[in-house]
């Protein structure tokens, strides 16, 4: 395992033009992903959390080039000797690295073609890679088994499967090309609670056995805590906090993270409801507020927050936050007492 990151994203942007008037002139931009930078190590699970519209899905899709980013660099080193800038790669270049990355979607009902058998669905990425058909058959059966699907059921159509099994099919499809990077976009959100655990366990087992790197996009902070090594919190297109999972949950450095963590309802009658209710709305990416995007909802905001946008900076080793007062604020996490002394400034 090399020490180079598998993926190095620098200043990634995705802007959608806003057109208005009869001539459809571009009058502004929705900055869905705005100047995002992070690194992903080999074998690492990076959780990407945030509320709907914060750009987490767009970011995931830009990375696998399901959509084309507006700017920035996403340097991807799937194997020694291969380096591709995913943000700028052309069609041919992309085709060569497609097999190293794949995606699992949220809804296992709409992401499977009802007209294809499960065998065809799982084998599709291999066919796109022009793998000989006898290899495909063998590969599909092996991966289906790994994902907990009965190979005898492969000639069935997706409608014969329950939600959890469909998600297993989606996972098998994502893993059939032996990728090194999987972007999982809310892979358990559409599933029943008792099935969620099965799929999470499966993803975790496969990640460890195959040494995969995951970008795990989710809004459920308990799920992310369970599966991720590091977590990036997004707000209105930007990463506002990025840190090891334990640190982030024990000692958040951004007021938005604190509010997010406090808002997760816990199934424990003895936990007092200390939810920080954020006023107002998630800021619009088309017309964001001045300065720090979070300042209108932030209970710690001061004058400087209205005028200056805080950059994402390393507050303590490995813990990045985009807040002017990241050092001085004593924000409350959800893990009672961190064992490490690292959290104390």
């Amino acid at each position: 395992m090399s020490t180079d990151p598998l993926l190095k994203v620098v200043g990634l942007k995705k802007y959608y033009p806003i057109e208005s008037g009869p001539l459809r002139r571009v009058t502004g931009h929705v900055k869905a992903v705005d100047d995002v930078s992070f690194e992903l190590a080999r074998g690492e699970v990076l959780g990407l959390v945030g509320e709907s519209g914060c750009g987490k899905t767009t970011l995931g899709r830009c990375i696998v080039r399901a959509i084309d980013p507006t700017g920035g660099v996403a340097q991807f080193v799937p194997e020694g000797g291969i380096t591709v800038d995913l943000a700028a790669a052309g069609k041919r270049e992309l085709r060569e690295v497609r097999r190293y990355m794949n995606m699992v979607f949220q809804d296992p009902f709409s992401s499977l073609s009802p007209r294809m058998t499960v065998r065809e669905i799982i084998g599709e990425p291999l066919r796109a890679q022009k793998v000989p058909s006898h290899e495909i058959t063998e590969k599909v059966e092996r991966i289906a088994q790994m994902c907990g699907l009965n190979p005898a059921h492969l000639s069935r159509y997706p409608n014969a499967f329950s939600g959890g099994q469909r998600q297993r099919i989606c996972i098998a499809r994502a893993l059939v090309t032996d990728p090194v990077l999987v972007v999982a976009d809310e892979p358990v959100s559409a599933l029943d609670v008792s099935i969620q655990a099965q799929i999470l366990n499966l993803l975790q087992r496969l990640q460890q056995e195959l040494g995969l790197s995951f970008i795990f996009v989710a809004h459920d902070l308990s799920v992310v805590e369970h599966i991720a090594n590091r977590v990036a919190v997004m707000y209105v297109g930007k990463i506002v906090e990025l840190s090891d999972t334990e640190d982030l949950y024990a000692r958040p450095r951004h007021p938005y993270t604190e509010a997010l963590l406090s808002a997760v309802p816990q199934p424990d009658p003895d936990v007092a409801d200390e939810t920080i209710i954020l006023g107002g709305e998630v800021a619009s990416a088309a017309n964001p507020p001045s300065g720090c995007y979070f300042h209108p909802r932030c209970r710690y905001a001061r004058e400087v927050c209205q005028s200056d946008a805080p950059p994402l900076r390393e507050v303590v080793s490995g813990h990045f936050a985009a807040c002017h007062f990241a050092e001085s604020l004593q924000l409350k996490g959800v893990v009672p007492e961190p064992e490490k002394e690292q959290g104390v400034p």
């Binding site: 509320e51 099994q165 805590e225 963590l261 997760v264 309802p265 199934p267 424990d268 954020l278 998630v282």
Partner: protein, 361 residues
């Protein structure tokens, strides 16, 4: 459709002070399908007191939604409904909703007026060809005021209350102009606009973000405090239930398998399904690094449901020859705590000794 027209009035309940607002007694809903009879609700009984919240927990297909739909008589037309659903009044005998005809004026007053509902799907619950304002004001004009001006102001106030920015402009928008979250809020506004005595909330915050969910949950609690309405809160999220409910009923395969005060249920769940459900959700702040305990198998579809414990095929402590032959009745196991399991005492004992191994047999 149903042969229970003679049950319209029920005089058995005297006007006691602690009288429930709504009583569901032995509700049974069967959907005849091509594949067989789907028993969506199988002997469901519960009561909701004024100003209190009953949480109805379960996974998809467990019958929680059809139970709620039966209360408003909006279950699918082919559903065969049996049992009694009594809506109590302080000054007159209770109404059995199941006995009401489809166009009974009483039913029209109950539906959307005294009992309002928030649906799970914000996309499909609004008409796409009418503005939000039109749809919101329709409810208000029907149940609260006849003056359009006043209705308009109320609509604006309701939208503002559920956290929609620029509420006056939003009234002129069509549902597709709003995001999913915004649409859900507009629907909550619509349900609360008639100041219902009972609010049926079917997974109302499932589509919302956590910070917005927190706002909405608090809003519903505040409104409940102000108006004294009762809430039937349907959710699969035990965290939300812990925050919202006073009492909880857990449903599985159309039956209530456990019922208790929220604290008791979360502290000492007695049914293996409830225990499994609680073990399978990751808890925030409790990262262990271990795989989650999951309930084996899939959520079954209750078609041609056998006379047996519905949880039998997935249960880690099932007794062969007993649990697959007899339906365990919902029986009191502690003060205010009922469970439908033959082995609840052993389940509790085993869990007390060994948290991790309780599900391994």
């Amino acid at each position: 459709m149903d042969e229970l027209g003679d049950r319209t009035m029920d005089m058995t309940d005297s006007a006691s002070t602690n009288q429930p607002l709504l009583e569901v007694k032995d509700l049974r809903v069967v959907l005849p399908l091509l594949e067989g009879n789907l028993v969506a609700a199988d002997g469901v009984s519960f009561a909701i007191r004024p100003g209190r919240t009953l949480g109805l927990v379960g996974e998809s297909g467990c019958g929680k939604t059809i139970t709620a739909q039966s209360i408003l008589k909006i279950a699918p037309r082919k559903a065969r409904t049996d049992g009694r659903i009594l809506l109590h009044y302080a000054d007159r005998p209770a109404t059995d909703i199941i006995g009401l005809g489809a166009d009974d004026p009483e039913l029209l007053k109950i539906r959307g007026g005294e009992c309002a509902m928030i649906f799970q799907e914000p996309m499909t619950s609004f008409s796409p060809v009418h503005t939000i304002g039109n749809q919101l004001m329709e409810t208000i004009l029907l149940h609260r005021t006849r003056h359009r001006r006043e209705a308009h102001d109320l609509a604006v106030a309701m939208l503002a209350k559920v956290g929609i920015p620029a509420p006056a402009e939003t009234l002129k928008k069509y549902p597709h102009h709003l995001s999913g979250g915004m649409r859900q809020r507009a629907m909550i506004a619509m349900a609360l606009a008639s100041q219902p005595r009972l609010l049926i909330a079917d997974e109302p915050t499932t589509a919302l973000d956590v910070t917005v969910q927190a706002q909405v949950l608090r809003l519903m609690k505040d409104l409940q405090h102000d108006l004294g309405m009762a809430i039937l809160y349907i959710s699969h999220d035990l965290g939300v239930i812990a925050r919202m409910a006073d009492e909880v009923a857990v449903m599985y395969m159309g039956s209530i398998v456990e019922q208790a005060a929220v604290r008791d249920l979360l502290r000492t769940p007695m049914h293996p399904y409830t225990r499994g459900l609680m073990a399978s959700v990751p808890r925030i702040g409790k990262k262990s690094g271990e795989p989650l305990q999951s309930i084996k198998g899939n959520v079954p579809v209750p078609i041609n449901k056998p006379r047996a414990c519905g949880f039998f095929p997935r249960c880690p402590v099932a007794i062969e020859g007993v649990c697959d032959r007899v339906v365990p009745p919902l029986t009191p196991v502690a003060a205010g705590h009922s469970a439908a399991c033959f082995r609840y005492s052993e389940v509790v004992a085993a869990a007390g000794l060994d948290q991790g191994g309780a599900n391994v047999h």
